[in-house]
Amino acid sequence: MTVNTRTGPGTLKVVRGGWPSLAGGGVLAAIVVFLAAAPWFVFSPGDVTNLVTLFALIILGTAWNLMAGYGGLVSIGQQAFIGAGGYGVIKLADVVGLPIPLAVVAAGAVCALLALPTSFLLFRLVGGYFAIGTWVVAEVFKLVTQELPGFGGGSGLSLTAFQGVDRVTRIATVYYLALALAVLVVLATYVLMRSRIGLGLTAIRDDKVAAASLGVAVRRSQRIVYVAASGGAGLAGALIAVNGLRVSPDSMFSVQYTAFMIFIVVIGGLGTIEGPILGAVIFFALQQLLDSYGTWYLVALGAVAIAVVLLAPRGLWGLAARGRYEIFPVGHTVRPPT
């Protein structure tokens, strides 16, 4: 799609993408168009509400992958920002009075801002200590939320901004907002990964020491993805809150979200843009299929995760694409000067 050319006799060309990627992108675009049209003639209102969960999962998986898959920051505490986004959107809509779409986006921005000081605390820790530290931060966020006056303590808050809005309008608003944000988050991730920052991040993913020796500012890049991924988690949390109409500390700050994100990214394929999307779809499908089986649902998820890790260590997208095909072309192919 982009071709860099040197004028003169021997011309070096660097190609990024091509017809196969365009075709894959076209299929995805068609699916998005279908999803945009579908609520009016295919799905019931209940399906539409369920699909918001899928879009939130795509955002969560994409954001967690950006941070862990590319930045090498294995956090088990992103529920801190899911919760902050959920509580934030309710305050921004009900107290500040922002319209819902703006409140959701602002809640994501607030979470990105919150992540900046948090990163200075957490980045002092390495490896397993970093992971544990993120969980501690999430628990602190939860406790502070419970204790803050006006946040409903242990029972949480309800969204009132939708009162007086008819059900169809409310469901449609949340659905289109979630669809648009999922598309935007994926596209933004693609643009980021295609930029020079993305090249540096991929290098960090493979070898931090070598990346630094070639001039990549490892710390700064990691901070960028941590802040961006936390903003993404906040957006997803805000969507979950406006979709469910209420938040409680136990549900919004649940470590279960981390388990979901890891599942999505691992079965889809760590360190690829396509993987988390595929992973979110599979996770969502399993969740819908097995919902009525109670605990067996968790057992089945665990079994699928183990099978994928053993049989396809690079995830199902890695298995399907074999590293040769990208819908979102971030790689470079050289056509040597002749």
Partner: protein, 245 residues
């Protein structure tokens, strides 16, 4: 004028002293060879100069500026390039992309310029035929070449090479020797750690011998190799004999 000036460098890992008080300097267009038995502290010295590991004591000056505590990436941007003794390719990237990281971040080149600098580095390291190959699938020899190409793509003014010739056959050596000589003659300062002494002697202007964190001898390469101090260090070590024809 010196490019790199290292003074009184010290580093220990627990009880293992890898640098006691190491001082040396390198001028632009000068090649310094480093030899020494296994575990002498040669690679550690490169890690200290590049900032991959922090020093315990001493100072490192590059181009007159004190860089002792500067982060590794900034040293690279200033013009210090290095290869790793055990290659560390970005396995999920192609050979070209690996080198592009160097030209983009180390040399600060943009787009077309970065592509071209990367390609030139591949040409110098004789790797253009593998440009689109995933780096994870390279054999050891090509991984070493990739180390060289990536370091060159950062457009270094000081190039630090760690056993870059290990594993090369006798008839692959002359090309590498020629390449490194040409880089040096172009005005780049070179530090080359190598066990293959006869290759080293064809390039370096000065030679330093390290043992257990101490500089045993430094000066004219042939005189250093002939000195009793160096002979004593290698006594009982088969390293040199096996590699010298």
């Amino acid at each position: 004028m010196t490019l790199l000036h290292v003074d009184g460098l010290a580093k220990s890992f627990g009880l293992v002293v890898t640098a006691r008080s190491v001082s040396f300097h390198v001028a632009p267009g000068e090649a310094l060879g480093i030899v020494g038995p296994n575990g002498a502290g040669k690679s550690t010295l490169l890690n200290l100069v590049t900032g991959a590991q922090p020093v315990d004591a001493g100072t490192i000056r590059f181009d007159g500026a004190d860089i002792t505590r500067m982060p590794a990436a900034r040293r690279t941007a200033l013009g210090i390039g290095r290869t790793f003794q055990i290659p560390r390719p970005f396995e999920g990237l192609t050979v070209f992309e690996n080198v592009l990281v160097g030209s983009t971040f180390g040399a600060g080149a943009r787009r077309k310029e970065a592509d071209e600098q990367a390609w030139q580095a591949l040409e110098t390291a004789d790797l253009t035929h593998l440009a689109n190959t995933p780096a994870g699938s390279l054999r050891l020899l090509d991984r070493k070449r990739l180390e060289l190409a990536r370091a060159l793509a950062t457009q270094p003014r000081l190039l630090l090479l760690d056993e870059i010739a290990g594993g090369l056959t006798e008839h692959e050596l002359p090309a590498l020797i020629e390449t490194i000589s040409a880089i040096r003659d172009g005005g780049t300062g070179v530090v080359w750690i190598e066990h293959i002494v006869h290759a080293l002697l064809q390039v370096v202007d000065r030679l330093m011998c390290l043992a257990q964190g101490d500089v045993v001898a430094t000066g004219d390469p042939r005189e250093v190799m002939a000195s009793d101090a160096v002979a004593a260090v290698y006594l009982g070590s088969p390293d040199l004999e096996s590699d010298t024809p």
